[in-house]
Structure formats: structure tokens, C-alpha cells
């Protein structure tokens, strides 16, 4: 009971393809089943992308 769940980071990231294989059998989150989420790597890329956007000056 006192074991922690595995972390989700770039080394232990979500496998999008594997997740999509089970989507039809899952009865949980529609977002996750339809792939509407960021994996750890995708989120890091998103942070980098948005930080590089320039506001008018």
C-alpha cells in the first residue's frame, strides 16, 4: 500500500500509440481515449513553443 505510483516524465512517458490501442476498451476519460492530452515530451515542447511567441512591441 505504501508504494508510490511511477512518475510520468520523459523517461517514463505516456505511450500514445499503446494508449490508442486500448481506447476502444477503456470506459474512462473521453479526453484520454481520443488522445486529447499532452505527453511529458509534448508538454515540454509546448512550453518551449509558447515561450518563443513574441508579443507586439
Amino acid at each position: 500500500m505504501d508504494l508510490d505510483f511511477q512518475d510520468i516524465d520523459e523517461e517514463h512517458d505516456v505511450d500514445r500509440e499503446k494508449a490508442s490501442l486500448y481506447a476502444s476498451r477503456n470506459r474512462g476519460s473521453v479526453r484520454i481515449n481520443t488522445g486529447r492530452y499532452y505527453t511529458a515530451k509534448e508538454y515540454r515542447d509546448r512550453v518551449r513553443h509558447v515561450k518563443n511567441l513574441r508579443l507586439p512591441k
Binding site: V14, R31, Y37, L55
Partner: protein
């Protein structure tokens, strides 16, 4: 069933959850692709796990555990919930920045400033907040002042939301101002051109008049 300290922690956890839930719903709605952040879901899962450990400890009291087992686990659950909240705030900041850039980048700063005079202040705040993204979350342990840090961050994000709404509501004024500036520029250019042509013609006329016998 629960000790006084555990009750205190549970109350703290419940209050924080109310804030966290609102933010998590907002961040999913604000995302341009309506995507969830797996990190937030993971933090909620971990918080739930620590709460369950406390419940199991109370329903199965036969197993030997430290006297502060419940309090420690609830403290950890609060830590995970704080990290979920910071992740949601980070996501909100990113989405708002993306939306504000999309909205305002086609327009010149002079037009934006004419319609939204507080643009510079909000821009500075947005740059500060963006550079802070993930900074608070990186501090894994929940410090004593985490509540204050969270409140300040939440206030900043609320101000950003207000600025985005202000910008969105000002779009017709920005369009009108851009059209006015273009018209003014056109007339300025046309007048300058006509004056130059007229001056050249007059100079040529005078020169011709003076040089004629």
C-alpha cells in the same frame, strides 16, 4: 475516526481541492486543442493514493504504523494537490499567452496602446509569468509559504484573464483605430507627394520665367 490534526489536514485538502478543480476545468477549456495535461491527472492520482492510505490505516488498524502516519500522508496529498494546481496555472498562463499573441500580433503597438493603455504593464506581467512557468512546480517540497505563492500566482493569472477579455472586447476599436491610422498615413503621403510635385512645378516655372529673355 480521524484525529484532530488529520481533520485539520483534511479540511486544508478540501479547501485546496475546490480551487484546484475550478482551475483544472478552466485550463482544459482554455487550451487551444482542449487537451488535458497528464501531469495534472498524475498529481491528482497521487493525492488520491495518499488519502486512501490514510483511510486504509483507519479501516485496518491491526497493522503497525507510525503514530503520525495519517498526518504525514495527508501532508503529502496536499503537496500533490498543490503541484496539480501549479500545473493548471502554468497551463492557463501558456494558453492565455498563445491567445493574446494570436489576437494582438497583427496590429501595431501604437494602435494597441491607443485602445488599451495598460498594454505595457500587462505585457511585462505576461513575460514574467511565462518565464516562471514550471518554476514553482519544480520545488517538489511544499514550503511554509506555498499558500501565499499560490495566491499571488492565482491573482496574476486572474489579471491576465481580465486583460485577455479586455483585448477581446476591444477588437472592434482596434480595427477602427488601424483603419484610421491607415487613412491618415495615406492622406499624409498623398499631401506630401502633391506638395513635392507642386513645389517642383513652381520652381521649374520660376526658373523658366527667369531664364527667358
Amino acid at each position: 475516526m480521524f484525529s484532530d490534526k488529520e481533520c485539520e489536514r483534511l479540511k486544508e485538502l478540501a479547501n485546496l481541492y475546490v480551487q484546484a478543480k475550478m482551475l483544472i476545468i478552466y485550463v482544459e477549456e482554455a487550451d487551444p486543442d482542449a487537451r488535458s495535461n497528464i501531469q495534472i491527472i498524475k498529481e491528482l492520482r497521487d493525492a488520491f493514493d495518499h488519502v486512501m492510505r490514510v483511510i486504509v490505516a483507519h479501516t485496518e488498524p491491526s497493522k503497525a504504523r507510525d503514530s503520525d502516519y495519517g498526518e504525514k500522508n495527508l501532508h503529502k496529498a496536499i503537496g500533490h494537490l498543490y503541484r496539480a494546481t501549479f500545473d493548471a496555472l502554468d497551463g492557463t498562463t501558456l494558453s492565455l499567452r498563445e491567445k493574446i499573441v494570436d489576437l494582438l500580433s497583427p496590429y501595431s503597438t501604437s494602435v494597441i496602446l491607443e485602445v488599451i493603455p495598460e498594454y505595457w504593464d500587462s505585457r511585462v506581467k505576461l513575460e514574467e509569468l511565462t518565464s516562471k512557468v514550471a518554476e514553482n512546480r519544480a520545488k517538489k517540497d511544499v514550503g511554509d509559504n506555498v499558500g501565499e505563492v499560490l495566491d499571488t500566482y492565482m491573482e496574476d493569472v486572474e489579471n491576465l484573464k481580465a486583460f485577455y477579455n479586455r483585448a477581446l472586447n476591444s477588437m472592434s476599436a482596434i480595427e477602427e483605430c488601424t483603419a484610421n491610422q491607415k487613412r491618415d498615413k495615406f492622406w499624409h503621403w498623398t499631401t506630401t507627394f502633391l506638395i513635392s510635385v507642386l513645389s517642383a512645378a513652381i520652381s521649374a516655372g520660376i526658373a523658366w520665367f527667369l531664364s527667358s529673355p
